[in-house]
């Protein structure tokens, strides 16, 4: 136990100490790389200073995730019904998955205007493919027996979808969301970068223009915290659903 913690502690302390020393001695220009202690202080005080930006990033992430989850599940369920439809939309989906999403930034700015709409849309576009794909696979794996039992008891297609197919596919849907959540965050940050007038991504640009680098690093640190929180949170939620698998 002890022997594992020593290198771990060193691995954390040495880089930050080196950062502090490099900046204090002027090895790195302190304007571009302020001392670690200064940055740490900004990390603590930043939420109090610019809480509206924290709120708007949080709002954008939540809306983006909800819409990603909802529309991803709907499209996934529809695609699972027909092999042909899936093939027809497959290449289009793959194109949007593999294309670097930043290229759509300008398109969204032109159509939606500057505001929270751009980060939300970019977030949805970045993450939705994973939810669609794993919902589709999850729904396909749902046992025929379950569906037949539902039919025997007189469920209509909508009831079948809502009460049997989607609940049975929930573990796969959660797996898709877990993979997508990191990309949703990237989409939101990129959107804020170029067009929002608020949020953590916007703060990075604004403080960068003001050459207030300590605050730039503080905003980056908060994005990292958010990312770690979202990733571990969704990993935990996904795990709690694995045991739920009904068949």
């Amino acid at each position: 136990m002890n022997r594992r913690w020593i290198p771990r502690l060193l691995g954390l302390v040495i880089p930050f100490l080196a950062w502090e020393v490099a900046s204090r001695t002027g090895l790195m220009h302190p304007v571009f790389l302020p001392p670690f202690s200064t940055v740490l202080w900004q990390v603590v005080t930043l939420p109090g200073e610019v809480w509206p930006d924290f709120l708007s990033t949080g709002f954008e992430i939540v809306v983006s995730l909800l819409l990603t989850g909802f529309s991803g599940v709907v499209i996934g369920v529809v695609l699972a019904q027909s092999e042909k439809l899936d093939a027809l939309l497959g290449a289009l989906m793959w194109f949007f998955y593999a294309a670097p999403l930043v290229v759509f930034t300008t398109f969204f700015i032109v159509t939606l205007g500057v505001g929270p709409g751009v980060p939300i849309c970019l977030g949805i576009m970045s993450g939705i493919v994973f939810v669609i794909a794993s919902t589709r696979d999850g729904v396909r794996e749902v046992g025929k027996d379950l569906v037949n039992v539902g039919r025997v008891f007189g469920a209509n297609p909508l009831e079948l979808a809502l009460r049997i197919v989607v609940p049975a596919a929930v573990p796969m849907i959660m797996a898709g969301l877990r993979i997508g959540v990191g990309r949703v965050l990237v989409g939101v940050i990129v959107g804020e970068f170029f067009a929002s007038g608020g949020g953590l991504g916007y703060l990075i640009v604004r403080y960068g223009n003001e050459l207030d680098m300590a605050r730039v690093y503080a905003a980056v640190a908060w994005i990292v915290f958010t990312s770690i929180l979202l990733n571990t949170g969704f990993a935990r939620i996904e795990r709690s659903f694995v045991t739920w698998r009904p068949v």
């Binding site: 022997r3 594992r4 290198p7 771990r8 060193l10 691995g11 954390l12 880089p15 790195m28 571009f32 790389l33 042909k84 093939a87 027809l88 939309l89 497959g90 290449a91 289009l92 793959w94 194109f95 949007f96 593999a98 294309a99 670097p100 999403l101 930043v102 290229v103 759509f104 930034t105 300008t106 398109f107 700015i109 032109v110 159509t111 990191g182 965050l185 990237v186 940050i189 990129v190 970068f193 170029f194 991504g201 990075i204 640009v205 960068g208 050459l211 680098m213 730039v216 690093y217 905003a219 980056v220 994005i223 990292v224 990312s227 770690i228 990733n231």
Partner: protein, 256 residues
């Protein structure tokens, strides 16, 4: 086999049909007047604008700049990342030391580092090379390390029984086994690196495709913006597709 093959061809044809259908629907909506052409352009207009750009030849240099930047960054990240990940996979204390900082960096969206890196290194191509490097090297390290750490004991013992030296084991057992993991790390890394380079170029540069993306906003016409969006998206998709294909062609190596 041939049945499976013809089904694959059928899927591909339907997929191509879907892409064409998407463009046709877009063109139709614009032609009928349901969607404003001045806002989002049209596929035919985009095609004409694209033809004009390639005829004038200005865009070639920018394509070259972006892909050269990306290529250097990726090459560096493999050069550094691949050997380092194998070392970390076999050296417990070393991994313990870098695990937490590396996982923190892995959780960092590379785009969040665009401005600090450009501030420190400058707006020239070097800062974008650094961004591509950071974007790609971390998934390579994380994935390659896991691959090197997961070499089955049975392989190592078998190699030892046949009298392999430590160097032999490293070169002929551990390294090939990790190569697959490095490759799947690269697959993730290419996407991150490309996004980081483009965002970097959109934020501050004199050259590159990212510059064209942001130019679309500044009073240029919608057809040009549509062309650039589709073209860069397609270029990125081709690149990711190529890496996926490479990854799959090694899949036969993978031990179950």
């Amino acid at each position: 086999m041939s049945n499976k093959g013809s089904r694959r061809v059928g899927r591909l044809l339907l997929g191509a049909g879907g892409l064409v259908g998407f463009l046709a629907l877009w063109q139709l909506l614009v032609s009928v007047g349901l969607v404003d052409r001045g806002l989002i352009g049209s596929p035919i207009g985009a095609y004409q604008e694209g033809g004009r750009l390639f005829d004038e030849g200005k865009i070639w240099a920018d394509i070259a700049v972006t892909f050269r930047t990306l290529g250097i960054g990726l090459a560096l990240s493999l050069l550094v990342g691949a050997p380092l990940s194998v070392i970390l996979g076999r050296w417990r204390a070393g991994w313990n030391a870098v695990e937490l900082p590396l996982l923190m960096l892995n959780a960092t969206p590379t785009v969040a580092l665009v401005i600090p890196i450009i501030m420190i290194i400058g707006i020239g191509p070097n800062s974008k090379v650094a961004l591509a490097f950071i974007g790609a090297v971390i998934p390579v390290l994380v994935s390659g390390r896991a691959g090197a750490a997961a070499v089955p004991d049975a392989y190592l013992r078998a190699a030892r029984v046949y009298g392999a030296s430590r160097l032999d084991i490293f070169l002929k057992v551990v390294l090939p086994h990790s190569l697959l993991a490095v490759l799947s790390g690269t697959r993730l890394g290419v996407g991150r690196a490309l996004t980081a380079v483009l965002v970097g170029e959109m934020y501050a540069t004199q050259r590159g495709l990212g510059l064209w993306i942001s130019r679309g906003q500044n009073g240029m016409n919608a057809d040009l913006l549509a062309f650039i969006t589709l073209f860069v998206a397609a270029a990125g998709a081709c690149l990711i597709g190529a890496v996926n294909l490479l990854d799959r062609s090694f899949a036969g190596w993978r031990t179950p």
